[in-house]
């Protein structure tokens, strides 16, 4: 099947039921999108499908055919960091960093939807697990990105 990831078309030989996460990681070869739980709870696998955030571990690859998949690797446009990535660097958000691809993708989608989110918007939308516990910096960085 053909998958369009970060604007590039890839012919992948993958069973249609294979979760999009694994098609991205093991067939397209982009490993920035992470496996954390496989059951739609942790958010580590968050990518954008036609601009909307989805948890790719429970979406069959076939459902992404003909649609635009954006991963963390495709967020920076033309070599410049996305404002969320920039805020993440400035606020030194990541600890281990493993959850941060999914976190950043979820936040980028939130800001597209609500350019100036309130704390309540953040609480309702950002449900990713971070075992290192970076939430205080995540919240600060979201507000910083919203101002950028």
């Amino acid at each position: 099947m053909r998958l369009t990831v970060n604007g590039k078309s890839h012919e992948v030989n993958v069973d249609p039921a294979t979760p999009l996460l694994w098609a991205i990681r093991e067939h397209v070869g982009l490993t920035g999108t992470k496996y954390g739980c496989g059951v739609k709870v942790c958010g580590a696998c968050t990518v954008h499908l036609d601009g909307k955030p989805v948890r790719s571990c429970v979406i069959p690859s076939s459902a992404a055919v003909g649609r635009q998949v954006t991963t963390i690797e495709g967020l920076a446009a033309g070599g410049a960091l996305h404002k969320v990535q920039k805020a993440w660097v400035d606020n030194e958000v990541p600890q281990c960093g493993y959850c941060q691809s999914g976190m950043i993708m979820a936040v980028a989608a939130l800001l597209k939807d609500k350019p100036k989110p309130t704390d309540a918007d953040i609480d309702a939308t950002i449900t990713n697990i971070c075992r290192c516990g970076t939430f205080q910096q995540v919240r600060e960085a979201i507000h910083a990105a919203a101002k950028a």
Binding site: V41, V89, I129
Partner: protein
């Protein structure tokens, strides 16, 4: 200073980048004496490589798992090296190189919050030694005494003549100089980098997806493996029907791994997992197949009143003290099994041939991973190598335990020449943890007529990690680590003076393997002790802070952090409407820590933690901004555990197999954390773990203040209490 005894044979060090280790052993034909990095740049000494463009590569033996240790340790070396911080980068030496060079980098173990506190001296000496050699090299070129030269930001200046040069230009010559036997370290007052919140060195790749974790590793010709170990600890594989799945897409091998596990090896991990899920396996579940949490609880309960126990701390005569008390208070607490659940599940990649076994693994202890590699491969140390890959969290799971390395090597041995990446599913990770030990405690306190604590009997009953993991470290059977935070003195010193004291431990081990879980035994000890302190204060009719202060006169550093949080929140003055406060203090991993939690409670069981003010005295602090992040992060880990996390046992196995049955805090539940970093100097305390232990008792004490309810068994979800 054995650390700097250099072995001047020609070695080439692999960088931390993936696959770079493949270049090991390549000898680059430069001068006879100089040890070289992979790119040919000279090693001034084992800690410092300088490239011609003045880039300074600092070697870090400890593992970065998010806690910031590579940045902190590089700051320590750079402080003495006087190099240009903006040109600093780091790399990991490999354990195999360490073996060959007689452990020139010391201990690799990254647990127990020891990255900085146990290596501060030798890494600074590494930087200072390199500086002396570089200055000497410049002085030799100029034919002037080194004493006439000064150095700053990688630039060496000969003041009298005004000549200057840079580290990059003299590194080659410096590398040939015999290292000085003794170097003086700076007085802490002169530090320019230590104590400064410089930016972490590893942020950028973690926001672009470029950072490679163990789970992301790719090697040419690599296959990928999924695994199932017997769900009952101690059980075995009886049989499996490989033929049922060997024809499934991508499947290459269906193999037994050791006595207790089965793997499917396939082109992709997803193919391996699908086939493994379809594979019929019959387990021999062994003698523990019927054990449940209730059985374990009963066994621990018996320990609370057992005659035999190991003493951890005692003075006076607790029996007499209690007998003569005007008032006696008693309480029993219980703490559950918990999984580390780092975001990145366990994994390791191995390649085996009869001549060489190589392992790529996210590990907190490269040397322990190396030991697992040599043991599982059966090859001598000089035929093994381990490359450390970035960790997606560790929290203690990836330090003393390398079961996944053993498995990966045992698989690779069955497919010689083919690299195999073994990745555990979250389910496998949940069911085969090294769990936070299960523990109960019975505390009895005696108050005199004026409400002073005159006697405290504190019995622990439960698992010993040391008995399971390092039995050679037991002291006549006693596990001293069980008493973290309760020791008479030292890094885990008890912060109260009680005239009649008995703290002891009835060891009750289970078939569920215990492990070091961020904070380790201090987590439950802080809850037991600090909640009971509030119970005693209540019984004495005294303010919890005033009650504690009376017992802390001999413990000024414990008291200082407690006072700092009390001052910051305005303890004693009214809290905002509906907000209730709770305190806790502890000494933990060489640091003094305290917290005050402010909570509001709705409906009796919905707790909102509005704010936690926390203080830490680490003695010396290397990077305050990173300390603050570790404090806030530790509260997420600690409060997730308090409210949500328990691994229960049924039919010998762990019942919770994924999130959210085993849940973790989200951003909506995150309290505002105000960190007070207050280094008092003169000692080096830990950072990654110490504060975790004060969050839970502070919140529990605030909850009791709000509701009058004292909860003594955990997690709180079992009482219908939630974090909102």
């Amino acid at each position: 200073m054995t650390m700097l005894k250099m072995d001047r044979r020609s070695f080439v060090i692999g960088s931390a980048t993936v696959g770079a280790g493949l270049a090991l052993g390549l000898k680059i034909p430069f001068g006879p004496d100089v040890v070289r990095a992979e790119d040919g740049s000279p090693e001034v000494n084992a800690w410092v490589v300088i490239r011609p463009d003045d880039t300074v590569v600092i070697r870090v033996a400890r593992s970065e798992m998010g806690q910031g240790t590579i940045t902190g340790l590089a700051q320590m070396v750079a402080e003495e090296l006087e190099c240009d911080w903006s040109k600093v980068t780091t790399e990991y030496p490999t354990p195999g190189q360490s073996v060959k060079r007689k452990r020139v980098w010391g201990d690799f173990s990254t647990g127990g919050s020891r990255g900085i506190r146990t290596s501060h001296e030798y890494v600074r000496k590494g930087g200072a030694t390199a500086r002396v050699m570089l200055v000497q090299a410049a002085a030799d070129q100029w034919k002037v005494p080194a004493s006439e030269c000064t150095v700053a930001n990688s630039v060496i200046t000969h003041k009298p003549s005004g000549r200057t040069t840079t580290y990059g230009k003299v590194a080659e010559a410096a590398a040939k100089i015999t290292p000085p036997a003794n170097v003086a370290l700076k007085d802490p007052k002169e530090w320019k980098l230590i104590g400064k919140s410089v930016k972490r060195l590893d942020t950028l790749p973690k926001v672009t997806g470029a950072q490679v974790y163990g789970a992301d590793l790719k090697l040419p010709g690599m296959l990928t493996a999924a695994i199932k170990d017997c769900p009952v600890f101690g059980g075995k594989v009886q049989s499996f029907e490989a033929a049922k799945v060997s024809g499934m897409p991508g499947v290459k091998h269906v193999l037994k791994v050791g006595e207790s596990a089965v793997t499917v090896v396939a082109d992709t991990w997803w193919q391996a997992k699908v086939a493994l899920d379809a594979l019929p396996i019959v387990w021999d579940e062994g003698p523990n197949a019927k054990v449940s949490s209730a059985d374990i609880a009963k066994m621990l309960e018996a320990g609370l009143t057992a005659d035999q126990a190991f003493v951890g701390n005692s003075n006076g005569d607790v029996k007499a003290g209690l007998a003569s008390a005007a008032k006696k208070i008693e309480a029993t607490y219980a703490y559950p099994f918990q999984n580390h659940a780092p975001m990145e599940p366990m994994n390791a990649t191995a390649k085996y041939t009869p001549d060489k076994c190589e392992v790529w693994v996210p590990t907190q202890n490269g040397e322990a991973a190396f030991a697992a590699t040599t043991a599982a491969s059966g090859l001598p140390a000089d035929k093994c190598e381990v490359y450390k890959i970035n960790l997606g969290g560790g929290f203690g799971r990836r330090g003393a335990f390398h079961d996944y390395v053993t498995q990966a090597v045992l698989i690779a041995k069955q497919i010689p020449g083919t690299p195999v990446k073994l990745l555990w599913s979250r389910e496998e990770d949940m069911m085969h943890g090294k769990y936070h030990p299960v523990m109960q405690a019975k505390l009895t306190g005696g108050l005199d007529a004026s409400g002073n604590l005159t006697a405290l009997q504190f019995r622990l009953s439960g698992q010993s990690i040391i008995a399971a993991v390092f039995p050679q470290n037991l002291q006549n059977g006693r596990d001293f680590l069980t008493f973290q935070g309760l020791h008479p003195s030292g890094d885990f010193g008890f912060g109260y003076t009680v005239p009649n004291l008995m703290i002891d431990h009835a060891m009750r081990n289970t078939h569920v393997p215990p492990g070091f879980w961020r904070g380790v035994n201090i987590n439950q000890n802080a809850i037991f002790l600090e909640c009971f302190m509030d119970e005693l204060a209540l019984a004495a009719g005294q303010d919890p802070l005033a009650f504690r202060r009376k017992l802390m006169a001999n413990h000024p550093k414990h008291l200082a952090v407690l006072n700092a949080v009390a001052d910051r929140v305005g303890w004693g003055k009214p809290a905002p409407q509906g907000v209730h406060r709770g305190l806790a203090q502890m000494m933990s991993f060489g640091s003094y820590v305290a917290a005050c939690a402010e909570v509001s409670v709705t409906g009796g069981d919905k707790i909102k933690v509005q704010r936690i003010v926390a203080a830490i005295d680490t003695g010396y602090t290397v990077n305050p901004a990173q300390v603050e992040r570790q404090m806030a992060g530790s509260f997420v880990y600690g409060l997730s555990a308090l409210f949500m996390e328990e691994c229960t046992v049924k039919n010998g196995r762990i019942e919770q197999t994924n999130f959210p049955a085993y849940d973790s805090m989200r951003i909506a539940q995150m309290p505002k954390v105000e960190a007070i970093v207050m280094p008092s100097g003169g000692f080096w305390g830990g950072v990654g773990e110490p504060t975790i232990c004060v969050a839970a008792p502070a919140v529990l004490n605030a909850y009791a203040a709000a509701t009058g309810k004292r909860v003594r068994t955990f997690p709180l979800k079992n009482h219908g209490i939630t974090l909102v």
